[in-house]
Amino acid sequence: MLTRILTRSLVTLLAATVAIGFAQRIELEFWHALTAPSGPLLETFAAEFNASQDRYTVNASYKGSYADTMNLAIAASRAGNAPHVVQIVEIGTGTFINAGVAIKEVHQLFAETGVPFDPERYLPAVRGYYSLPDGRMMSMPFNSSTAVMFVNDDALTRAGLDPATTPLETWDQVRAAAKQIVDTGAAACGFSFAWPTWTQFEQFSAIHDVPYATRANGFAGLDAELRINSPLHVRHVQTLIDMGAEGSLTWGGRGSAGDALFPSGECAILQGSSGLRGRVVREATFDWSIRPLPYYADAVEAPLNSVIGGASFWVMTAPGRTDAEYRAAAEFFNFLGQVEIVERFHVETGFLPIVFGVYEKLAAEGYYDANPGADVGYLQLARTAPTENSMGFRLGNMGEVRNIIEEEVEMALQGQQTAQQALDNAVERGDAVLRAFERAFR
């Protein structure tokens, strides 16, 4: 009797579960690392995706900084409950690409789920960063920026330079202008930059078409070695040291610390992320403009495309994850890749329009005439076809490599070592990091 009752209730329970299962939407855990205004907008997109269909629910949650989010995702993966989709900063790409069974590659995701997808819609410089050399896309590009140069036009005028006619295309021109600005007291700081390694080494190498590392900047294999102690790199660090000595350069600190120097009016010329534009619009109380990154005129005929920064979305695996869940991720990605979504994200946050069609549409509507400078990053990124040197970087533990370079350059700027010593040390230490990574991932 008891067994019969038990069996019957079990059967009922099972049936109920199945019924709920059919009616229930498939939940997709999605972790991101974006703060306002980008983060809330991304969550709005997730909500719109949920409302647009009745099969999937994306639960978007903010998990802290890029480093925090990456560490949480890795810890969750080790514990067997990774999120379905996680946003990983561009320098984490090398780590995630080698994550083997812990991730599902994006090209694989679309192939297995049968959801149609065309990677060619994405700009080559964006797509390439997150793809294998053979073109297979590993993660889904989303928020991408590039480095540009912000110029305080009022400070130029005060220094006796006409912003309309003063060229700031080469490093010589930038240095001369920065010196004049400081000498005339037009601003306390002539020139500075945020994200030192990103702007002064990664972008610098790309637009000058010189390798940052061997093996196509690491795209071709884990055995890449750094090449940032080339004569051109040494010359550039020497320029920075000289500018520091003559007072035209102020070191803005690591990471985004330098950002604050421009909108406050302290620094007249600042290289930073194109995404800084939104803050400058809000905070700057002077006339300003955005210009492409400068180059050494005798080192490259015409500068190449710059590289992106930002983050992409990775699909993670976990025990018991179903095809329907992966399908949800694929559908969500296609939703985010729509022209209207990319356009809104670009206009509201300042990140780049990463799919073809958005820039053209906005340009036709006169958006860039009304918002001067908003297109400089895009045009710089799209101005040439990426070469091996300007496709991006695929190095293990790239965050550590960045730190090492910043450390050594900081010490050179303090006069503790020469430019050559700084970069030789950076290469030696950076290569040790790359070898350790290669060993751990072999």
Partner: protein, 293 residues
């Protein structure tokens, strides 16, 4: 005679201890053992490929010149923080001990900083010392001093020492004051009647009697400087410029959390753990002998 509580059941005391023991085992011993185990491994962050490499992590860590540099920075940092946190605290405590009117008010005010989280304290001081937005920072620059802790390693080290010490002064003050108040007034008065000057009374009578407190605080402050100053360094300098403020603790964080090199990071934790255990043992064995209880 020693008082002893007699339990009728042999099991009961263990049962009563169990929750505390469980917490200690789960939250202290287990992670510590994990760290020791991890320090013998070479592993990718995802834990997909693991190799047992014996002591290679330790060998690698200890043969890095930059690790030894961190050791030096940590010694300078910990010594300075300890001295700077204890000296002023003792002075304040001696002064507050003499205050008769409004003593509670002074005490409360002096204890306040302790209630501030390290990272918040760091941000407060950052707003004061920042070369372009901080009042003192701007003032120093106006005086012609090239103050910029973002590029000057010594200034950066000074700043993190200063903020870390400032944070701990309140705590030390509280203990010193309690220590001073537990010294019988009669002894000090007797010395005064014998004609000892105030400074003589302090150094010959009060200070030796205060030594248990001083010793306790010495241990606590050194451990504080080693382990609890992460928030300050992280908020102010992130270990830079160069490696000027990369203490051993900060290195563990950087190698483990930012660089995901779990083996090297664990090896460093284990070394740090051994160092602090060693330091505490030395303190209790040798310095304590000279402490008057």
């Amino acid at each position: 005679m020693r008082r002893r509580t007699i339990y009728r059941h042999k099991l009961l005391p263990y049962l009563l201890l169990a929750p505390q023991l469980a917490i200690t085992l789960i939250f202290f011993y287990w992670p510590a053992l994990q760290a020791i185990y991890q320090s013998f491994l070479l592993q990718d962050p995802f834990g997909l490929r693991t190799q047992f490499i014996w002591l290679e992590n330790f060998q690698h860590v200890l043969s890095t010149p930059r690790y030894l540099e961190s050791v030096r920075i940590t010694l300078v940092f910990s010594t300075s923080v300890t001295l700077l946190a204890m000296g002023p605290a003792l002075l304040l405590a001696v002064m507050a001990d003499q205050v008769i009117r409004g003593a509670t008010g002074y005490r409360t005010l002096l204890v306040w900083p302790y209630a501030i989280a390290p990272a918040v304290a760091a941000v407060l001081w950052l707003f004061i010392f920042h070369p372009s937005i901080g009042q003192i920072g701007q003032g120093l620059r106006a005086l012609g001093i090239p103050w910029d802790y973002r590029i000057n390693g010594n200034q950066a080290l000074f700043l993190v020492i200063f903020v870390s010490a400032w944070k701990q002064v309140s705590y030390n003050f509280l203990f010193f004051l309690a220590g001073l108040q537990s010294i019988p007034k009669t002894i000090v008065e007797a010395a005064a009647i014998d004609g000892a000057s105030q400074s003589r009374r302090f150094w010959r009578v009060v200070f030796p009697l205060l030594s248990p407190t001083t010793f306790f605080l010495l241990v606590v402050n050194i451990i504080y400087a080693f382990f609890d100053t992460f928030g300050v360094i992280h908020a102010l300098t992130q270990g830079g410029p160069g490696r000027a403020t990369t203490t051993l603790m900060y290195r563990v964080y950087r190698d483990g959390y930012i660089n995901l090199d779990l083996g090297a990071s664990s090896a460093q934790s284990v070394i740090l753990m051994a160092a602090v255990i060693g330091l505490t043992v030395i303190q209790f064995r040798y310095i304590e002998r000279r402490v008057h209880y």
